[in-house]
Symmetry: C2
Subunit: 371 residues, 2 copies
């Protein structure tokens, strides 16, 4: 993970890796950030005349050869990817043959990669997919929570409704897991457990793509009850780089990645939802960047045109800081046209508002992040 | 602010300060924490086998003579008190004569000091108080938000209701402001503005109690639209210490403090609400500690028996970290019986749960905080 740019070796892994990657990278501003702290202050929250709160974080930008293009803070420290690596978790849905066997659409693949907001466009599609699998919401083991899209949550409650597992932001991912288990003839109940073949298969994919031995990696139970595996932040970034540039992956895996990436980029509104950072920035960028946020302040980015992956972790887990930090990193790398940010300026630097709706401060990148 | 304990001068300010304070303090464990960082890591969030997120913070424990008994991180750095200094903001309600003129009850004084959760016990009392003032919810300039007590919010929406300014956690404080303005014959509209006499009067109280010249202090607009003034964290702690031990304050002010403290301690359920950290810890401690949390990870404590005040700020503003950090500080000071923590262990070390309700990690103090 620690090869530097001036250490110019393009070792492939025997999969016909060529020099196209390095050529593309000439468009990327090369950055060297002194590692002054384990986790420098990347985002500050102002109110009136003063900075009120500060968010530290770590970021790694890497290419598919594991060269670190830029980093803020410690590269090797572990992180739970949470929902940021859902595209990696969806690879077996295609590789297993389940996606073809059940005629899974690109919309459904996007939902398998999603942390959706529980809007009708999300829950109806997941319900229809479950129905086509001859399964129901009762098979989902992710638990229920109110839609994170507040108007949808309010409307649900106002109609006398209660949240179900369909509203869980991970319901599409779980439906994908069920599709794999059913297609492979595996027991459906308990598909969320660490030892279940569905989860072991995903662990193997993550190991291969990130080049890590994770057999003894620390893990925890995610909000949706599946395992989340502790990885070096740089390894997570490498996983994203190999989604950006899958040439070094086995052919079937590279094909799965290409298909997932197409679905992810074609349906940004299904991967997040209305007003969501990932969704709106992907839309503005015409999917030149693929974004996926996770809980506890994690955000990953895939840049296919540049063959780069980015992994970002806010030290304190604050979701509000992840978007502005990622936006600052993307701006600094110069990998998107400046005009991308025109329509999503309120997500790159987010307003702090009073209860009356007046803007009283902002959530903005620090000089350390923005350069 | 920086006198140390071995620098044994008990300068009063001519108000008959005696040595009772120092005597009481022999019961307090004296702590000296090396200032290794501006804001040491006080709280960590675990998930399974790993620490997932970390919260830095600063804490100052001080007596009414401004002696620093203990501190974690920088003492002088500024903080917006937000809602943590509502008791100071309520002093003019009594000093102005408004509380007596309008027969304000201890329950109403507690609500003036509250960040309540919008439960019926809160909104009904605020509505009745407004009614007695011949005012209505339309006079409140705090803005509306859903009750922070989730079952109350869900019930409100399910009944087809919408949040009003009564549900705003600050509605009691604002009713107190209106009572002062009305009693003094001041214009009601705009009572939230920095230049309005209601806010200028509060600024003067905070200056006197904390010993600061705040005429040029940075300020911002709080969530409820009133000014919040940037203070050194140690000065905020001193304000709390002078609530704990008001002997050095002018007589009328000391009487107001004693009355507010009584109301605050007698009605912990009105100051916060069901399940709230402040409320439940005050109840468990039989109000031997008075607690008040504010937005952006601020929490203050008043210890009348020990003449101490505590001010705490989580650097990143996370509310989830403030309670466990404050609990660790209170435990380390040894100012409450150990049995206090038996019933509120889930607030001192808070569980992290999955969407199915399983405990998958915890929010706990670090060794730096817990000692």
């Amino acid at each position: 993970m620690h090869d530097h740019d001036d250490h110019d070796h393009h070792h492939g892994d025997g999969c016909g890796h060529d020099h196209q990657l390095a050529k593309d990278q000439t468009a990327v501003r090369q950055i060297s950030i002194p590692d002054r702290s384990d986790a420098p202050i990347l985002v500050e929250v102002t109110r009136g005349a003063m900075v009120e709160s500060r968010h530290r974080g770590r970021v790694v930008v890497v290419d598919a050869d594991a060269r670190v293009v830029a980093h803020w803070g410690d590269v090797d420290g572990l992180v739970y990817p949470r929902s940021s690596n859902k595209a990696l978790q969806a690879i077996p849905l295609i590789e297993s043959g389940a996606a073809d066997a059940y005629a899974v659409t690109d919309e459904e693949l996007a939902l398998a990669c999603a942390s959706h907001q529980g809007e009708t466009m999300h829950t109806q599609r997941v319900a229809a997919w479950l129905d086509r699998l001859d399964l129901s919401v009762d098979h989902l083991e992710c638990g229920a929570h109110l839609p994170t899209h507040e108007p949808t949550a309010a409307a649900l409650l106002a109609a006398g409704g209660r949240p179900t597992a369909l509203h869980n932001n991970c319901s599409g991912k779980h439906t994908g897991f069920l599709a794999v288990a059913k297609h492979k003839g595996e027991k459906l109940a308990g598909y969320v457990r660490y030892q279940h073949p569905v989860q072991q298969r995903i662990l193997g994919v993550i190991e291969q793509v990130t080049g890590q031995d994770l057999s003894r990696a620390p893990w925890g139970v995610d909000g949706c009850s599946i395992p989340t595996i502790g990885l070096p932040l740089g390894a997570l970034a490498l996983g994203m780089a190999r989604l950006a540039d899958p040439d070094s992956l086995p052919d079937r895996r590279a094909e799965a990645v290409t298909r997932l990436r197409r679905a992810w980029g074609a349906h940004p509104e299904l991967v997040g939802g209305t007003g969501n950072f990932d969704t709106e920035v992907m839309r503005a960028a015409n999917s030149a960047v693929l974004l996926k946020s996770g809980a506890e302040g994690v955000c990953c980015a895939v840049l296919p045109e540049h063959g780069l992956g980015i992994a970002l972790k806010i030290e304190d887990g604050a979701p509000r800081a992840a978007g502005p930090a990622m936006a600052a990193v993307l701006k600094r790398l110069g990998v998107l046209p400046d005009t991308v940010w025109d329509g999503v300026a309120h997500l790159a630097v987010a307003p702090v508002t009073s209860r009356r709706g007046d803007t009283v401060g902002e959530i903005r990148p620090t000089a350390a992040a923005a350069g």
